[in-house]
Amino acid sequence: MKLIFEKSVPGRHSSLLPACDVPAFELPETRQEPLELPELCENDVSRHYTQLCQRVHGVNCGFYPLGSCTMKYNPRIDEEAAALPGFTNIHPLAPADAVKGCREVYELAAKYLCEISGMDGMTFQPAAGAHGEFTGVLLIKQYHDARGDKARTKIIVPDSAHGTNPATAAMCGFDVVNVASAPDGCVDLEALKAALGPDTAGLMLTNPNTVGIFDKNILEITRLVHEAGGLCYYDGANLNAVMGHVRPGDMGFDCIHMNLHKTFATPHGGGGPGAGAVGCKDFLKEFLPKSALMEGEGHIQVRGFAGNFLVVVRALAYLLTLGREGVPEASTNAVLNANYLMEKIKGTFTPAFDRVCMHEFVLDLSEFKKETGVSALDVAKSLIDNGMHPPTMYFPLIVHEALMLEPTETESRETLDEAAEVFRKLYELAHTDPEYMHAAPHHAQIGRPDEVAAARNPIVRWVKA
């Protein structure tokens, strides 16, 4: 498929403008270089993006159990709210009293999200989860710095953590200390105790953790970190499992980021705008970024202006639609769906941890691969032929040949039954015709792109020939 730049024809355009009826005005300075924007008529543009659409699998195309990503269906009403002209026809430099409605969106969203997370203050500047982590860990750094406590150079991260956690800690200038997981996938308390000390700045943790298990020792874990003088950071990646049921603030966490684009149902997955709202307890509020829009004087920015505003509008619309009863019910159903699907798949593929899970579960295909030669990658690719988006593969790293499924609450029992049936069929196929699965997918527009070449020699920029 051609890039839109390659479809460009000089002079072609989509706008039909009437003749100019005002005097022409020469700009004092003009750009010397050509802009090189693509020139196309409207139907070419429309067809180009429709074609792109047809080459991918979105949450509107079918089941999308991409573990850890919470690919729930995004309700249309959220889009309607975000398209209201009062929210779209604003300027980032508009005076505060001209955008009162937008401020109210932030205030209301902050109020609800503080209630859900058990925090006291919130910023919406960070553009996504990892950016939120970065902001949250900077709060921890600033806290220690403000106290003159310069010896705290280490952030503790469990080995099951998302890769962004150690990356965030390193970006903030901390040394990363990995602690091993216990056999049940939870934090090993003895390993944690051994890692804690006067150099501990904090701990980053997801709960429920990456294997979909709620760490039963969470109060003990946060107590130990606090006793050592560190702070506790909650990675909200898995908040969809517990929202409205248990609050990170009550588990002992001091700050948190929430992926609004995951848990609160705004579109994501294509690199589009997200929002990594960061919340904190009272004693950290003074270090929060403050946007010019929200606070006037003395703003500190981690991103231009006020963050990805329309994502917050969507999240607020979602919260208002679900309400106080609906938010915990969504989590309940997310957990129910994950357990239902896990039970249905059991008997063919093997869960890595055979116990009640939270909102997601991990299959361990290492024995299956030994038996059949068919890898987790082959199974993932075969699922594409069956109209399903593959689960997350080879993550978490503590499980070999991992497939990680998160069905989310927005899938019906019928969808889950169908998915389980597809897994059962593929399990059988692997024993009868593994070669077919090695070559899968057979019916997709894009089969097995050369990931190695893409990683070694990425071409991320179009250059005019």
Partner: protein, 125 residues
């Protein structure tokens, strides 16, 4: 999977070969097979200190980024710069593609010989 009888091994799948007071370190065939195609490597610099059991760099494959754990403590004498442009050598020739050479070795991880390592890998699957 191949195991080189002349080398010692760590539980994190690095090999080490000590000759004339210098320890040569790389990753095993088992490691490269589990990682898949390696696309990047982060290396220390000559003169850096490495500590047994601690990370001295990392390798990134299309699956994941993994720490390289040093089997010995000492000072980096040389790094294999060729790997920066051709990390795929770790896949094609894991026992030939050394990563670092360490001098002034003063401590070692618990190391396995080839037979023990073979049994260890069989267990890990």
């Amino acid at each position: 999977m191949t195991i080189n009888p002349d080398m010692k091994y760590t539980k994190s799948h690095e090999w080490v070969k000590e000759e004339d007071g210098t320890a040569v370190v790389g990753i095993t065939d088992f490691a490269q097979d589990a990682l898949g195609d390696v696309v990047f490597i982060n290396l220390p610099e000559a003169g850096d200190e490495v500590v047994a059991g601690e990370s001295f760099g990392d390798v990134e494959s299309v699956k994941a980024v993994s720490d390289l754990v040093s089997p010995v403590s000492g000072i980096v004498q040389a790094v294999n710069e060729e790997l920066i442009d051709a990390p795929e050598m770790l896949n094609s020739d894991p026992y030939g593609a050394w990563i670092i050479k360490v001098e002034q070795v003063n401590d070692r991880e618990e190391l396995m010989d080839a037979d023990d390592y073979e049994a260890f890998c069989a267990e890990e699957g």
